[in-house]
């Protein structure tokens, strides 16, 4: 496993055509796990997450020459991963009915959670799964990824004020869902 290096070093390697693949590998090693979980919280299954994550990295590879350092690499990668996840979810929604899909996701979670035996975590996952997509994204990025509102704003292109409102609404909805059950 390669060691984790700074973004500047990664971009320097990538800028050199002879070192492109090596630099890209460093990029993947550094960001694959946070991006994996960011995607998985949206699409649920490992198989779908793997597809979306690979597509994300392929997009990144194709467009890396167009990346401008005025935005942070981390933010840029999150944008692409978010875009790919939403595209995937929209395609999946067309293929299946939302109710079947949602039920299936909940059943999957229920199965895995029953193994863990953590009732509260199951409720949390259920509550998150029924949030609107935007609120779900904001909640996940703030709660799990601990991103600042400025970072989330750079990814989603929404004002900080709007994001705070979304996050607060999401937290309140989740809390009342957990208490109601």
């Amino acid at each position: 496993m390669l060691k984790v290096i700074e973004d500047d070093e990664i971009l320097t390697l990538i800028a050199d055509p002879k070192q492109l693949d090596r630099g890209f590998k460093y990029l993947m090693v550094k960001y694959q796990e946070p991006l994996y979980w960011h995607i998985r919280r949206m699409v649920k299954s490992h198989e779908d997450t793997d597809d979306v994550l690979q597509n994300t990295f392929i997009k990144v590879y194709k467009n890396i020459k167009r990346f401008e350092s005025k935005s942070k690499l981390f933010t840029w990668l999150y944008k692409i991963a978010t875009n790919e996840s939403i595209t995937f979810l929209n395609k999946r929604k067309k293929k299946r009915t939302e109710s079947i899909d949602e039920q299936s996701s909940l059943n999957n979670m229920a199965t895995s959670d029953s193994v863990d035996g953590d009732e509260l975590m199951l409720k949390l996952n259920r509550a998150i799964s029924i949030l609107p997509t935007k609120q779900k994204l904001v909640f996940n990025m703030r709660y799990y990824d601990e991103m600042t509102y400025d970072q989330i704003s750079a990814v989603l292109g929404t004002s900080v004020g709007g994001l705070k409102a979304s996050y607060h609404h999401a937290v309140k909805k989740i809390e009342s869902f957990i208490k109601e059950e």
């Binding site: 690979q54 944008k79 895995s112 975590m121 949390l124 607060h168 937290v171």
Partner: protein, 150 residues
């Protein structure tokens, strides 16, 4: 500091959530993250080489098809030339069929089979190319989104 702010905000909004452990749910196959970078790089490399192969394959087949079409055009020209030198009545249908079978027919089943296969290959590749282009169009849409967020 950043984490503290987030924790403080959360505890003000919901004590329940603030006390829940944050764990990533779901299992990941062993060695997945060790293999992923190589898998992606292999995919990127093979995609670009397949794409290059398709491009180089389509052109010769297309040229072949053009060549075949040209061959038919020449044959038709020969037949029509024959018509201009002799009156239509002077060339019975049977003779024309015989001419085609004797002179073109010698190009024979193998040739026609090859033509058929070539044309089918071109048609198949055309679909593949079309699919490829459709996929690329999706990429272009995504690229536009990406451009807008750069």
């Amino acid at each position: 500091m950043k984490n503290e702010d987030i924790k403080k905000e959360l505890s003000e909004l919901s004590q329940t959530l603030a006390h829940l452990p944050k764990v990533n749910r779901g299992e990941v196959p062993d060695g997945y993250f060790d293999q992923l970078p190589d898998n992606v790089l292999n995919k990127v490399t093979s995609t670009s080489s397949v794409s290059n192969q398709e491009t180089s394959k389509v052109i010769p087949l297309f040229l072949k098809a053009m060549g075949i079409a040209a061959s038919f055009a020449i044959l038709l020209f020969v037949i029509s030339s024959q018509k201009t030198t002799e009156s239509a009545e002077a060339i019975p249908v049977d003779s024309m069929v015989e001419f085609i079978m004797d002179d073109i027919g010698e190009l024979d089943e193998d040739f026609l089979f090859e033509v058929s296969n070539e044309m089918r290959d071109v048609a198949e590749l055309d679909d593949e190319t079309l699919n490829y282009m459709l996929e690329e169009e999706i990429d272009l849409i995504d690229d536009k989104i990406l451009e807008s967020i750069y």
